[in-house]
Structures are given as C-alpha cells and as structure tokens.
C-alpha cells in the first residue's frame, strides 16, 4: 500500500484516500498535431520497473491534483510535488538518484 502526502493540504494518508490519475507529465497533442504525435499521446505509456512518476488526486480530502514519484517494485514513495509543473523538481530527482542510482524515466535521469 502506498502512503502518500498531499502537497496541497499536507495530509499523509494511505492510497485509498486518493485516486490515481495515470502517468505524469504527458504532453497533450490535439488538433494540428501529426498522426504520430496524437497516436503516441493517446496510447504510448511508460511501464517502468522501478522509478515512476504519476498523477494522483486527493479525492476524499481536499480534492486537488498533485504528482507523486514512486517505485513500482517496492511501492516506496520518493516524494510528492504540486501539479503545476511540467517536470519533477530537481531536489526530488536528486533524492531518487541517491536511492536508485542510474534510474531513468523517459529522458529523465
């Protein structure tokens, strides 16, 4: 079970108080984009063993969206950060590097 801390209201709770929102930091390709871009936006997702970035919503609490970085094999949560960003914050990536040296996710390391 994941123990997540909502960065909006500061509450730490287990995952049943939240709702997963799928992969984080997707670029939405809509009208005017190429077929390839649209196809990959719709269907192509990461399926990592290890470090993963996801969107979560504090559905039974403050109702706000946020991001979480976690490990898919151990369910360790490296950290959570606000939804209003397009990439994970530097200090969080540093923390992950200390715990999982050599991790990669898309083009992030």
């Amino acid at each position: 079970m994941l123990i997540l801390t909502c960065p909006v209201c500061g509450v730490t709770a287990e995952e049943t108080e939240f709702h997963g929102g799928g992969e984080a930091h997707l670029t939405r390709h809509g009208p005017g984009s190429s077929d390839d871009e649209f196809q990959s936006y719709l269907f192509m997702r990461e399926n990592p063993r290890g470090v993963h970035f996801e969107r979560w919503r504090h559905v039974y609490g403050c109702g706000k969206w946020f991001h979480a970085a976690r490990c898919t094999t151990t369910l360790e949560v490296f950290g959570t950060y606000p939804a209003q960003t397009t990439e994970p914050p530097k200090d969080l990536r540093k923390t992950i590097s200390q715990k999982r040296p050599g991790w990669t996710w898309r083009d992030l390391t």
Binding site: T16, E17, K64
Partner: protein, 196 residues
C-alpha cells in the same frame, strides 16, 4: 410552510462502546474563494465570528465556526435558523470578490460519536491516525469513512463530529453502530496508541 427535519429524524444508539447520535440541524455554508484574499478573510470572519483557519484546522465559536476544507474552500457553521441571514451578509460582503457562497445545510447529515472509546470507533472506519496526540480538538480532517467521504473534527476531548452527504446518512449511521457494537473494543486499556 415546510418543517425542516434531519436526514434520520435524530436517531441515536447508546448501548454501545461509544454513543452514536444524529446531530440536530446545523447551518452550513460552503464558501469557495481565494482564502488568502483579505476581503474574503474579513467577510468570513464577520459572518462566522472566527478567524479563517489554516490547513487541517477548525475555528469554533460558541454556535458558529469555520472549517478548512481545501485551499480554496471553507465550511461555515452557524445555527440553522440563521443560515439565510448569514448567507445574505456573506454574499453582500463578497459582492466585488470572485467568490461563491451556498447554503448546503440540507444537503448534509451530521453525527456525533461520544465516549472514551470514540477514537476506536472512528479508527475502525477511517484511514486516519486517531491517537490523542495525532488528532485533537481544533483539527479538521476530510477523509474516507468506509466507502463514503466524510469530514471530521472533535468538538470536545471525547466527542467527534462527522459531516457526510445527506443521501448517505443511513449508511454512515449503520457503519457507526456496527463499529461500536458491544464487545468490539480494540484496546483493553481504552487508550488509542499512535500508529507509528
């Protein structure tokens, strides 16, 4: 003229490890606005007689109070008979501000759980640490109660107040009465320890 009634007609159940009762009618106003705006703070304080609370807390006066629901939402508590008047005052004060205030008194049901083992009863239903040093009067928590959302605070040392949706009132009352059945005590000394 219609007569306002609570969702379950004020049911209660005493012969349990904690006393469960439906609370009488409670005036509730949802206020959605930028809570850092001084005009909003002033209007909320004037309407509720309490300062705007910080995250996860509640400020209670004698009969009214303010609960922190989310970064842009407050729940204003007031006597049921004064809701219309309070709402009017609030809306007048916020006429120039981007804000929304709505009377939700009849959309909700509220309950009290009272007794030395109230913490155990609540702990069975919510994924929340209810040890005395983790959850105390003055704190406010929105969470999941079995399968439905609920908002919880403590009005006294051994008294929980629960607010849920009115349509789920019977479900919540049943949950509480089952969680408080005689013989279902969790801790032999009656003291809820912290989880970690």
């Amino acid at each position: 003229m219609s007569e306002p009634v609570t969702a379950l007609g004020g049911v209660s159940s005493d012969a349990r490890i904690a006393a469960i009762a439906e609370a009488p009618l409670q005036g509730m106003i949802t206020l959605r606005a930028d809570l850092s705006d001084s005009a909003v703070k002033k209007a909320a304080k004037a309407a509720a007689g309490a300062d705007v609370p910080g995250p996860g807390t509640v400020h209670l006066g004698d009969e009214s109070g303010l609960c922190w629901m989310s970064p842009d939402e407050l729940l204003l508590l007031c006597p049921y008979a004064e809701v219309t008047e309070t709402l009017e005052r609030l809306q007048k004060a916020l006429v120039k501000t981007h804000a929304l205030a709505v009377n939700v008194s009849d959309a909700r049901a509220s309950f009290t759980v009272t007794g030395p083992r109230a913490r155990e009863v609540m702990g069975k239903l919510c994924p929340v640490d209810f040890a005395p040093d983790r959850f105390a009067p003055g704190m406010f928590r929105r969470t999941r109660m079995a399968q439905v959302p609920a908002a919880i605070w403590m009005s006294a040392d051994e008294t929980f107040r629960i607010v849920c949706f009115r349509s789920q009132a019977q479900y919540v009352f049943d949950l509480l009465t089952v969680a408080a059945q005689p013989g279902s005590e969790v801790f032999s000394d009656g003291k809820t320890p912290a989880l970690a």
